[in-house]
Amino acid sequence: MALQTTKTMSEERAPILVGFLTMLRKEVTRVFRIWSQTLLPPVVTTSLYFAIFGAFIGSQIAKIDGFSYIQFIVPGLVMMAVITSAYSNTVSTFFGAKMQRNLEELLVSPMPDWVVIAGFVSGGVVRALLVAILVLIVSLFFTHLIIFNLFIIFAAAFLTSLLFSLAGLVNGIFAKSFDGISIVPTFVLVPLTYLGGVFYSINRLPPFFRFLSLGNPILYMVNAFRYGFLGISDVSVTVSFEVMIFVTLALLIITLWLFKRGSGLKN
């Protein structure tokens, strides 16, 4: 082993920009490298929903606010795929890095905490948005898409993927075992998504259950997204965006605080 001592890297270093781009590149490469685990499953699952609830059962269900049942559930099912993909991406990459200890590569680097957080979250957002596009393409085999407001569609999808990427990161920070990363998706995310107005309008629920549904943050995301497509919503679209922004900011503050304290990250 010999060492050449010539210094080769005199250029200015940019831990924020280059650091973030390195993490983003790594995350996106991972999403495509293991596409059969990251992109394919939500497409297959949602296709089944389209076929069973949309085409087979949906054809026997009356129109909702003037739209066929499959047209009504497509935005909700896309949002369900976005939520699952964003959450599972960050929780698995972060927890994997923690278990393999390669999280230390990031912790010893001069990247500020917020850049590390942004790097992990970017992977979740990219995967969720890719899944959304793929699921929307598949939906074209079952119905035709109506687009009411493209900006609202994109804003709702982006904010939701950001929110659940952060939520997955918080889960990954606290998780100490593989059980710890599966409990929340199974017992919290899935029930909240199913009860978040994906398959029905809450206006058709008895008053008590309608009131209960208003406490479910996923309801607002699904309705904002649906509004972007169909121009209809069970709740105010402004309130929906306010809820999404508030929860995202709260999760961001919690994540930054956990990184600063080193909880679940450092000794």
């Binding site: 080769t8 890297m9 831990p15 650091g19 393999q100 230390e104 590569e105 001069p110 304290r261 000794n267």
Partner: protein
């Protein structure tokens, strides 16, 4: 230890670390290491070596005290302080599914070095550390020694001013260890401050100029290797005899500070001021001819054990 003429690469004052479990891993450690030094931090398992390294690298949060890296306080600008440090931890801590080149290039990115700038340096490190034919191999497929060299290459990609090595040659075969020693010596000669923790005291004796011995979270001895060895109470030597030692010869030698190890090996404890010549002469007069003289392990090891037992 800084001699006051060179700036300090590391300056630690009254560093304490208490873990959440209540374990007091560092009990007020103060240490100054000059730039360009080759420094060994020695101590038994659980003494606090790895905790100290972790605090310096930003992997553990200190409870109190101050730490400066190349003049930058970790309380004031931890990100800048971290940019000066390269670390080779005790445990493998890379993504097992990534290739050698990706692991190194990604690490460069985390330090703000773009790929096109880092690539030539990464290739040079890979070549110098004997990993050229494994450049595109997944980390999980490397042997133990290769994984350790990969961690060294990764730690050097951003040309750190201070290199922290936590047991870098653990589980590495003799030939590779020698190669790594040469590499580290060259790196140090080129100006990199090296801080090494090791269980191989012979390694510390061969490589480092300055040593600190830590036990139960406190530094119990610090100084140059030369000064530590000069203050040794005794030196233990092994003497190989030409022929097996007879019982009669052993009886005659009983007045000497000599112990029989086996038929052809004697152990001699040399007190300060004594010379080995005196004993060779005395043994010769009773008919014991010496064919070879060896150190009984590392001399530093004797100092180490003596200090740990006293502490």
């Amino acid at each position: 230890m800084s001699d006051g003429t060179k700036p300090a690469a590391i300056k630690i004052v009254d560093l304490k670390k208490v873990y959440g479990t209540g374990v007091e891993a560092l009990k007020g450690v103060s240490l100054t290491i000059a730039e360009g030094e080759f420094f060994a931090l020695l101590g038994p398992n659980g003494a606090g070596k790895s905790t100290l390294i972790s605090v310096l690298a930003g992997l553990a949060i200190k409870t109190s005290g101050t730490v400066e890296v190349c003049g930058v306080s970790i309380d004031e600008n931890i990100d800048k302080a971290k940019s000066f440090i390269g670390i080779v931890p005790q445990e493998f801590n890379f993504n097992w599914f990534e290739t050698v080149i990706d692991i190194i290039i990604n690490q460069a990115g985390y330090y703000g070095i773009p790929r096109h700038v880092a690539m030539p340096r990464a290739n040079e490190l890979i070549e110098n550390l004997g990993l050229a034919d494994k450049r595109d191999t997944q980390a999980m497929k490397l042997s133990g020694g290769m994984k350790r060299r990969l961690m060294i290459a990764r730690s050097l990609i951003h040309e750190p001013r201070v290199l922290l090595l936590d047991e870098p040659t653990a589980g590495v075969d003799v030939e590779l260890r020698r190669g790594m020693h040469d590499f580290l010596r060259e790196l140090n000669a080129a100006g990199t401050t090296i801080i090494l923790t090791t269980h191989y005291l012979e390694e510390a004796e061969q490589l480092s100029r300055e040593v600190a011995i830590i036990n139960n979270g406190s530094i119990i001895k610090q100084g140059s290797v030369k000064s530590l060895l000069a203050n040794m109470n005794s030196v233990t030597l092994l003497l190989d005899t030409v022929a097996p030692i007879s019982t009669a010869e052993l009886q005659l030698a009983r007045a000497l500070p000599i112990t029989r190890i086996d038929d052809t090996t004697l152990q001699l404890k040399l007190a300060p001021g004594e010379t080995v010549n005196d004993y060779i002469r005395k043994l010769s007069t009773i008919g014991v001819q010496i064919s070879n003289i060896r150190n009984n392990g590392s001399r530093l090891e004797e100092v180490f054990i003596d200090l740990i037992q006293k502490d």
